[in-house]
Symmetry: C2
Subunit: 213 residues, 2 copies
């Protein structure tokens, strides 16, 4: 289980989405071919990806949709609730917390921190925004292993250093910057500007060099 | 220029970040080795990636930081301003628009749409929220090619169909769903729940199967 390539984990997420969609349309079983088709993967790819995690298929039946959903959720860790803290209570932080996907995926916000004294003490949903010097004790008391960072690029490295020192082992980073962490701290970066650049690149290509047959 | 793999375009964005960081610390030149090092790429990888787009190095000098920044920005299309519209004026839409990265990367918000009659007519920064039936004409009048979607997963496909019909050619999608579009419409999906699943997967692996030496 140790050496699963990152892209395979992304594909597990995509399979789960597709299975949930099949479940909504009352499908009870699915073949690797059907599962791959909507996502543009070959059936061999689907089987290979799932084989990383165990044997899921049933001869002559394919995959049972409900069963595979439960097992993939377990693999992805979204069958349980993870306590999580948020650093950065600005606009992005607020939007993230109102984004329903977080709770639906089993993330429960336990505390919010901000370095801005003007924000500390204000309400953030049902929570009060805490100062940064409370972070270390809070992570210990609540046994939090996961944090979401929505601070400025300049502040991000300092925040992640504090988090690592306090015992956080997973960081979802919304700051557009590269973070350095110890090997036992996993950083998942969501760089919105990067996503935009990918889009403008494609648009730019199209206007600079129109597609040829 | 037609067949540049997606990951190479991501790497161009990373090189640009790194170069901008070098520029801030007053570096005038950089070698492919130095450029790759901070990002964990080999110098051969850096040279190969940049070769897709032309010759940038100077013998005995390496790359000139300022020159390479300008050229990479031109390649990524972030040296100009793209008019863009937003569909979905909820919390996520609001946060996205207050996210400074958008303007900094050359995206100018020209109009905002929402299907909720209660939101239509309200202010959204300097703009007024428009009803969906104004979308088609607006895209034509403003000659918009790019849109950002921050609507529910259920509404997303209908919105992207409208956009494609109106002439939009690039979509930044924040809805956690697979979108089907004609081949001449490029969709860049930012699935926040997907990012979270990747993180919980890694945390889960750690708790289920601790790393061994």
């Amino acid at each position: 289980m140790q050496d699963i390539p990152g892209p395979a984990v992304y594909r597990i997420s995509f399979y789960l989405r597709q299975l949930e969609s099949l479940q909504r349309t009352a499908h009870e079983t699915v073949s690797s071919k059907q599962l791959g088709k909507a996502l543009g993967y070959t059936d061999a790819q689907v089987r290979k990806d799932l084989t990383y995690f165990g044997q899921f298929g049933h001869p002559g039946v394919g995959y049972r949709v409900e069963e595979l959903i439960q097992r993939l959720k377990k693999i992805l860790g979204t069958d349980r609730v993870w306590p999580v803290i948020l650093i950065g209570a600005g606009n992005l932080g607020r939007a993230l917390m109102s984004y329903k996907g977080f709770l639906r995926k089993g993330f429960s916000l336990e505390a919010v921190f901000d370095a801005d004294p003007a924000k500390v003490g204000r309400r953030f949903g049902e929570l009060e925004i805490l100062p940064m010097d409370k972070l270390h004790d809070c992570v210990h008391e609540l046994q939090v292993r996961m944090a979401i960072i929505a601070v400025t690029p300049e502040a991000a490295q300092g925040v992640v250093d504090l988090l690592a020192k306090a015992g956080v082992r997973g960081v979802l980073n919304f700051s557009p910057t590269n973070l350095k962490t110890p090997p036992d701290v996993f950083v998942q970066s969501v760089d919105l500007a990067l996503q935009l650049e990918q889009l403008s690149f494609r648009m730019n290509m199209e206007s600079v060099a129109p597609s040829e047959p």
